[in-house]
Amino acid sequence: MLKNKDLLGINDLDVGEIRLILETADKFKEVSSRRVKKVPALRGKTVANLFFSPSTRTRISFERASKALSADLINITTSPSLGETLADTALTLEGLGVDLIVVRHDQAGAPVQLARNISAGVINAGDGAHEHPTQALVDVYTILKEKGSLEGLKVALLGDMRHSHTARSNLYCLTKLGAEVAVGAPGTMIPEGLEEFGCQVYHTTEEAVENADAIILTRVSMDFGNDKLLPSLREYSRFFSLNTKRLALAKPDVMVLHGGPINRGVEISATVTDMAWPHLREQVANGVVVRMAALYLLSIRGSEKR
């Protein structure tokens, strides 16, 4: 059983809870290979997808997961521009009888504040630069399916650490499960105190990927004011991009994962992207089963006022 009514971040979970979600995902994995890819676990329950900032793949992944569990789904993809507070929006949804709310928001902490104000369970589907717990669980699940265990494995995290919610969730999740994590990014893209997460911080991709068992990439763009952190994407690509030469420094059986959307030629070269496709495809497929597990575990836990 999960301890909280919400899944807001990996930081709040203990190892037992992480394993519970991953084991539950494994059970749903079998469902996705059936002819009828649907179970009645959430029949009669309503899930609201509240996407205040755009994210097509996470939203669709949650939609697929909700439908595979037979939940009723409400999709809200436009941000309330009429000045209503997030708390009021949540209370409205609660009035409508929503059991679980999946929230994507561009402001860090918005789902955390929302969860405090309502009794329905809240899943954080990415909030600013805070956390994106289900994506980290997907990444870890994908690695575990191939490697069996994370204990002693070296995992490299590359890309924009400053603005990435998934990177933070990955750091918590990987270190909690015993992996050795190496971060590789330009100094301007590494936030203060990141080494206190229990990782090695490098300013070169080469050092980070050396002998790595898995590499998880984060999109690098000129959004979020990154034009002040990087001179150009071309420069980033030249010095940091995961190309075949840099990839060769990792273990021969290295897995390459990317939460998407991919900027081919920026954080990862086109050749490496094509080489990585089997894993990337698996990662997307696992997204559905891990989210099924999260929705299911929160729904059986039931709602409560915190």
């Binding site: 708390a87 955390v112 956390e131 919610h165 936030p191 203060e192 990141l194």
Partner: protein
């Protein structure tokens, strides 16, 4: 002739080096005498045994929000909150959007305060027009209208040449100049202290160096012009080091710190608690310890609340959209008494010095002491009275206070302004 005898309290008057049981006689709004035993026949006697008798508290950093933001606070509500907190005089900062950058607004604040206020209110004018840091205000006229200091409030004067001119110009009118030491570009979109907590929360951080570069700049300007600069307020340990360096060399650099920076760290922001969102931000435990030490040894002379009431809507929103500030007037003394004096980190005498004597001295007010013939502004606290902070019982309109629910001692019992009870037995005497 109206006489009041405060009998048998522990009188703490740092300006006169007094800390001991004594009687205080107030006559016609002035202090008449302070002595071990005073005998009178015609005075009303107030039994102060077991209580702390101090000069009325003086705050250099208060936002009364009138005129302009009466939804946050008014002179009537803010001064009542102050009296309940043991304050008898306030340095009033400008309201966002309707700033005291001209004599008219300064005069308005004074006349409104005379009408609606229950404690003394001293306007603090701005240094630049609209606090934009571009053009000097009419500092001479603002001074003549009654402003006691010059400050662009929580806005840094980014242009060093502008700051230099402000210091040169204000000096002519003997007005103290306050600087908000935070480099605008380094602070950028930051909300909380830059560190592992800002990284965990995924919030943009304000590095401590944003404060230190401006504190350093002000130090160099103060030395080169032989002017005084008051940093209002500071938050970082390195700024304390800078102050020590400056003061050892006789450079006139002084500073104030808030109760919340002395008692909380950025950990209070965890869970996106908007009541802990303040400017400058709550910093690390090492910073907090350095600040406490700096107050104890006098490097930071003044504790000021930076009372900044916010509406419920301004706080009950996404952390990134919330307005920084704490409504702190009603909790400052009991907080610092309980957490710093009772725990032995600060002497009571130094606390009173930092909350009354030194602020009065900075603003050139004949207050902050129980010296005969000076105004009879007295605060009386009960060190034994224990009560839980309840923001819903505040007289301030602002309920934004992260100490809600804290169990504290040393609550104000009586507040006397000019010989008149404003608060008696913990209750306002005025409606």
């Amino acid at each position: 002739m109206k006489r009041l005898l405060l009998r048998g309290g522990r009188v703490v008057d740092p300006a006169n080096g007094r800390d001991g049981i004594a009687d205080v006689l107030l006559t016609d709004g002035l202090v008449e005498a302070v002595d071990e035993q005073i005998e009178t026949t015609d005075a009303e006697v107030i039994d102060c045994s077991g209580l702390l008798v101090t000069p009325g508290l003086v705050d250099t950093n208060v936002h009364l929000n009138e005129p302009g933001r009466e939804d946050r606070e008014t002179i009537a509500t803010g001064t009542r909150a102050a009296a309940l907190g043991g304050y008898t005089a306030l340095g009033c900062r400008s309201t966002e959007g309707l700033v005291m950058d001209n004599q008219t607004v300064v005069r308005y604040v004074r006349s409104r305060s005379a009408r609606d206020g229950v404690v003394r209110v001293y306007p603090i004018g701005t240094a630049t027009k609209g606090k934009k840091g571009e053009r000097l205000t009419e500092i001479g006229e603002i001074a003549a209208a009654g402003a006691v200091a010059i400050s662009d409030d929580a806005r840094c004067v980014d242009d060093a040449s502008m700051m230099r001119r402000i210091l040169l110009y204000a000096e002519m009118f003997s007005l103290p100049v306050f600087s908000f030491p935070q480099d605008t570009e380094l602070a950028a979109e930051g909300l909380v202290n830059e560190g592992v907590i800002s990284t965990r929360l995924g919030l943009a951080g304000i590095p401590a160096v944003a404060e230190e570069v401006i504190a350093g700049r002000e130090m160099i300007l103060a030395e080169s012009l032989n002017c005084a600069v008051h940093l209002s307020p500071i938050s970082s340990a390195s700024t304390v080091e800078l102050l020590r360096y400056a003061q050892e060399r006789g450079i006139k650099l002084s500073a104030e710190v808030t109760p919340h920076n002395l008692l909380l760290t950025d950990a209070a922001c965890e869970g996106y608690q908007t009541d802990a969102l303040v400017s400058p931000p709550l910093r690390s435990e090492a910073d907090r310890q350095a600040l406490i030490e700096s107050v104890a040894d006098g490097t930071v002379a003044i504790i000021a609340t930076d009372h900044s009431p916010c509406t419920v809507a301004e706080k009950k929103t996404e952390f990134t959209k919330a307005v920084p500030g704490i409504a702190g007037l009603e909790t400052a003394f009991p907080l610092l008494f309980t957490k710093l004096v009772e725990s032995g980190l600060l002497t009571l005498s130094r606390l009173v010095d930092a909350m009354s004597t030194q602020p009065a001295r900075l603003l050139n007010l004949a207050l902050g002491t129980l010296t005969p013939e000076l105004p009879a502004d007295v605060s009386i606290f009960d060190p034994e009275q224990e009560r839980t902070v309840d923001v819903r019982s505040f007289k301030s309109k602002g309920m934004n206070n992260p100490f809600d629910g804290w169990l504290l001692r040393g609550w104000p019992m009586h507040t006397i302004v000019g010989g008149e009870f404003i608060v008696r037995d913990g209750k306002l005497t005025v409606s």
